[in-house]
């Protein structure tokens, strides 16, 4: 048994299972919800198995087709991929369960196949060790995300989806042109081989520039974030949860890999400080827009713009502690933001709207949902014991250690802004009024799902030492200065 767990290529399972789930949900709509639950559950189990394997035997590569790089494609699983895969599995499971309650049957049957293709694409992306294969996974992710955004068919959703589609297309084309330049300069598409071969040249600079811009566009880094708020605000709530929680991180993950492994420092024409400065702009722009928002989902969407800004602070800091902090932030933000959107979904399901000033009427009826929102908010604003606190701590520590206190100042100020918009919502939920509107009964499962994710994001801070230890599997930070 143990041998199977420690030698079986669980990464492959993580890709095949959701693909199979997508096909089977499409083929047999009558039993789709059971198929969906089993698929989501199988994903969680496979991630656990993969974690056991990685923890016991370290990182591993899987040569698809048996060819191995450079001819074939290799899958690569290390601590970094494990972290992202785990977030995907957990959020994926929650969203699957939630969607079964949220969507009417007709919509659910259209949602599920696309949703599992999205999960498959994300898993494929987090496991890929090949820059062209990453492009394919990116396209699959982007198209699935756009399709899900447009699902509701409303005016706002359609327009947002169209914008999103163009943004994601330009992003992937730009990335692909970068891949082309890399391939024709160094004759390989494999990360490991490229890491050895890549050297500074005009083509390398252009490639890194193209790839970084394309990925920054897909990650919605300020000022390339224009597409995100409408898309995340108008998509159905479970979709928004996945978009903000997972999809935005997929492109950022590629960026991390590129900076960490393929392009050693100094090969970039884009200095880390520049990306960091854009990150700071994102923090304040996103934060202020979130403060101004009158709709809950829009507020949460802008909060994502803001959190994306935090991610990019890793580039100027670039120490092991900073990487730890940002990766931990990715993880906790995935859980917390998904929880927030699911909570928002409950409110919309219940009341038919998400106007923040009217929450006093809602909160009394949906205490668990509001609790979920508040707990996730604790994580987002970086208060203990939320996962965001640990992330903030590590990032502040990294900036003080490296003497770049201004990033720390931006972080702390940003978290104050985050607190302001979270409590703007929470504050309204304690005031007392009687319910006047016509309301729907929210399925218990939906409330529990949101709460469970929120609790996970908060408790993450207490078990931070585990994910922080897992990140080191495979030695991805070997080339990064300690402080």
């Amino acid at each position: 048994m143990e041998v199977i767990i420690t030698t079986f290529p669980w990464g492959v399972v993580l890709i095949l299972v959701p693909l199979f789930g997508a096909l089977s949900c499409f083929m047999w709509p009558n039993v789709a919800r059971y198929l969906a639950l089993s698929t989501a559950f199988a994903l969680v189990m496979s991630v656990i198995a993969l974690a056991v394997r990685l923890i016991t035997t370290g990182s591993y590569r899987h040569e698809i087709g048996g060819w191995g790089a450079p001819l074939g494609i290799e899958l690569f699983a290390d601590g970094l991929s494990l972290l992202m895969l785990a977030a995907t599995a957990v959020v994926g499971f929650a969203v699957t369960v939630y969607s079964i309650g949220y969507f009417p049957n007709r919509q659910l049957l259209r949602f599920l196949p696309i949703w599992f293709l999205l999960l498959a694409a994300l898993n494929a992306l987090f496991l890929s060790g090949d820059i062209f294969n990453l492009y394919v996974a990116l396209e699959l992710t982007g198209l699935a995300a756009v399709a899900l955004t447009a699902m509701s068919g409303g005016r706002a959703a359609l327009i947002a989806a169209m914008r999103y589609l163009f943004a994601t297309l330009v992003g992937s084309m730009s990335y692909l042109l970068g891949v082309v330049l890399i391939y024709h300069s160094f004759g390989s598409l494999d990360f490991m081989i490229l890491a050895e071969r890549v050297e500074a040249s005009p083509a390398t600079w252009s490639a890194l520039g193209l790839m970084s811009i394309g990925l920054a566009l897909k990650t919605a880094l300020f000022p390339l974030h224009f597409w995100l708020p409408p898309a995340h605000a108008s998509a159905p709530a479970p979709v928004s949860a996945a978009l903000s929680g997972l999809v935005v991180k997929a492109s950022f993950y590629i960026l991390l890999r590129l900076w960490l492994e393929v392009f050693p420092a100094g090969h970039s024409l884009i200095p880390g400080e520049f990306l960091g400065a854009l990150g700071v702009c994102a923090i304040f722009w996103g934060g202020l827009q979130a403060l101004r928002a009158t709709r809950l989902k829009l507020l949460i969407a802008y909060s994502t713009v803001m959190q994306v800004g935090y991610f990019f602070l890793v580039f100027p800091l670039a120490t092991v502690v900073a990487w730890h902090g940002v990766l931990f932030l990715l993880l906790s933000h995935a859980l917390a933001k998904a929880a927030m959107f699911l909570a928002a979904g409950n409110i919309i399901y219940f009341a038919g709207h998400d106007r923040i000033v009217d929450f006093d009427r809602i909160a009394q009826q949906l205490p668990m949902t509001l609790a979920a929102f508040a707990l996730a908010g604790v994580c987002i604003m970086g208060l203990p014991p939320g996962g965001g606190f640990i992330a903030k701590w590590l990032m502040v520590q990294a900036s003080l250690e490296s003497g770049q206190w201004w990033w720390a100042a931006a972080l702390i100020l940003g978290s104050l802004v985050a607190a302001a918009y979270v409590f703007k919502v929470v504050g309204h939920s304690f005031t007392q009024t009687t319910v006047r509107e016509k309301t729907n009964v929210v399925p218990v499962l939906m409330e529990w799902t949101a709460l469970a994710l929120a609790l996970a994001s908060v408790l993450l801070g207490l078990v931070a030492s585990w994910p922080l230890a897992w990140m080191e599997i495979g030695g991805v930070f070997a080339g990064v200065p300690a402080r």
């Binding site: 914008r163 589609l165 163009f166 084309m173 042109l177 082309v180 024709h184």
Partner: protein, 102 residues
Amino acid sequence: MTTETLYALVGVGLFILGLYALFVRANLLRKILAANVMSSGVFLVLVALARRTGTVAPDPVPHAMVITGIVVAVSVTAFALILMLRIAMKTGQTELPDTWSE
């Protein structure tokens, strides 16, 4: 200048043209055309430079990549067109509004 470089530069030109048109054109159908031109440009760079093997036969890997790419492009185009039509039916417009709201 070699044939490879020449076509690669044409590819760059197409990429830039497409990108520019995607920015400045408002009509959605034309934006979709622009995206297609953009991807054709990338493919052209990819394939043109694959001839620099020094032998008669070009490098087949980029060829395979482009074939996959063309299929992706057509899928995305088909989806984008339907999305555009849905928007046209909802709003009576084939342009995206400057500001977005409910």
